[in-house]
């Protein structure tokens, strides 16, 4: 399979749970193609169905309708043994790390190899190689209880990579970590994607995680994919309410949405890509137009050496003055959109 082909395809996939209090539709008509070698983000509020979605990809949850295709083959058509073989090509890491407490780090990493029937020196050498990759080669004899959260997740990543998987599923892998450790783990995932060519699928509720490492993103809302596409496009021009909420919510959708000042005035959201963020856009704009604007919200950060971010400004009541500003932005090819 060539790089760029779809390694995972979800086709009209749905999942309904049958509970005592009736049927619960967790996922409905999910269509998503994930390219080999990419980092795909899946974001949504808690309860949106994203954890169920990731578990359908490796059939820990069996979808009740539609298909899951891995390397072009439908998991639904496979025998139990074939599904287990497919799982060996898909590593998975979790929010709570899920390491084996009674095994040391080395034995944790050799665990998936034991399951695949690989033991002895080959397994040990492979585990050591991976523990070096995640920077824990001097802790091999330690037990999980002796590690910090970030270190545990590193071991979990090493373990998930032991069988040379093509896909790494990350279920809220950084949600239990502090911001600094989160950044380190995200860097590691990016490195694994670049150096080993592993397709990474990231489930998160934090927009900052998506911005930091993902190429594409799918936004899940109420069991559906609300919108999906390249991160830069979605970020610049979200088409749905949930998309706007996730992006404007300062990257963390658990925060209360911001109410932007006087609701009668016209407001615009200016999106900074790598280029415009280094220019004093607002200063130049006010100087050029001789019109003051009120900055309501701003949020910029560095992603891969490029500054990205957004700013919400309130335009003057006067229509001519407001048009002057939007005209200036258009002329300078700065992405913006009107917000309410």
């Amino acid at each position: 399979m060539a790089k760029g082909d779809n390694i995972v395809r979800l086709v009209h996939m749905g999942k309904t749970f049958h509970t005592d209090s009736g049927d619960v539709k967790a996922l409905d008509d999910i269509n998503l193609d994930i390219k080999e070698g990419s980092i795909q983000g899946i974001i949504g509020l808690s309860g949106a169905g994203k954890s169920t979605l990731v578990r359908c990809i490796n059939y820990l949850e069996v979808p009740t309708s539609g298909q899951v295709l891995f390397e072009g083959q439908s998991l639904g058509d496979m025998t139990d043994a074939e599904v287990r073989e497919a799982r060996k090509k898909m590593g998975m890491i979790f929010q709570q790390f899920n390491l084996l407490d009674q095994r040391n780090l080395l034995k944790n990493v050799t665990f998936p190899l034991e399951i695949s029937g690989i033991s002895g020196k080959i397994a040990k050498d492979r585990a050591m190689e991976l523990l070096r990759l995640v920077g824990l080669e001097d802790r091999v004899k330690n037990y999980p209880a002796q590690l910090s959260g970030g270190q545990k997740q590193r071991v979990a990543i090493a373990r998930a990579l032991a069988t040379n998987p093509k896909v790494l599923l990350c279920d809220e892998a950084t949600s239990a970590l502090d911001p600094k450790t989160t950044a380190q783990i995200l860097d590691l995932l990016k490195k694994i994607n670049k150096e080993l060519g592993v397709t990474v699928i990231v489930i998160t509720h934090q927009m900052s995680v998506i911005e930091a490492i993902c190429d594409s993103v799918a936004i899940i809302d109420h069991s559906h994919i609300a919108e999906s596409g390249p991160v830069s496009e979605i970020f610049a021009n979200p088409k749905t309410d949930i998309g706007r909420k996730l992006i404007l919510g300062n990257g963390d959708i658990n925060e209360t949405p911001i109410t932007f000042g006087d609701s009668t005035k016209k407001k615009i959201r200016i999106v900074f890509d790598g280029l415009s963020a280094y220019k004093p856009v607002i200063s130049e704009m006010t100087l050029a137009c001789k019109v003051p604007v009120n900055i309501l919200f701003a949020n910029t950060r560095e992603v891969e050496g490029k500054a990205v971010g957004q700013m919400v400004v309130e335009l003057p009541d006067d229509h001519t003055e407001a048009d002057q500003i939007t005209g200036y932005l258009r002329d300078n090819e700065i992405t913006f959109e009107e917000v309410r």
Binding site: Q102, P112, L169
Partner: protein, 220 residues
Amino acid sequence: MDASSISMYLEETWATIYMTLISSAISYMIGIPLGVILVVTDKDGIAPCRPVHTVLGVFINIFRSIPFLILLVMVLPITKFMVHTTLGPKAIIPPLIFASAPYIGRMVESSLKEVNAGVIEAAKSMGATNWQIIYKVLLPEARPSLLVGAAICITTILSYSAMAGFVGGGGLGAIALNYGYYRYQTDIMMISVIILVILVQIIQEFWMRLARATDKRARN
């Protein structure tokens, strides 16, 4: 205390230890599979099977609700068939197994249920079979809890074995019964009770230490 009574205590202490260890070993060989089946076939287990889970649960509860002394008498024909005698330490082993295997099954079940469901899910995500999950995840991860359970189970079996005296089973319980109860020789009864207490202390302490020493969860 004369030489003959010392040798009597030694002999009956050994009989007690013998009955307890043999019964415990065999009961665990039956109890571990019982506990595993209960956990695996439970509705959130790795191979849910309601009929098996329910039938086994009822079966275990029936055995657990029969008082040991009654069970001892009830299984006498089976005892005779298995060990060809209804007297002596050997004869107490079958009823001890009937009483303790279901009890151990329940203890094992509760230990295995303590294993974090996330770890089982992680093993599944690696393509582990149910057998691999049982012997590479469930049992090793539950080891400290299983050992604590073993301390409780073995001391319970020891105290059950003391009832062997009622069916001519020998052991320290028999001394206490024959000398203390039938002949009013309270001192002899007290000595055998003290030996029983010491045995329980030793077993309890040994297994608890073993559980702590092999638990990797909280050692920095």
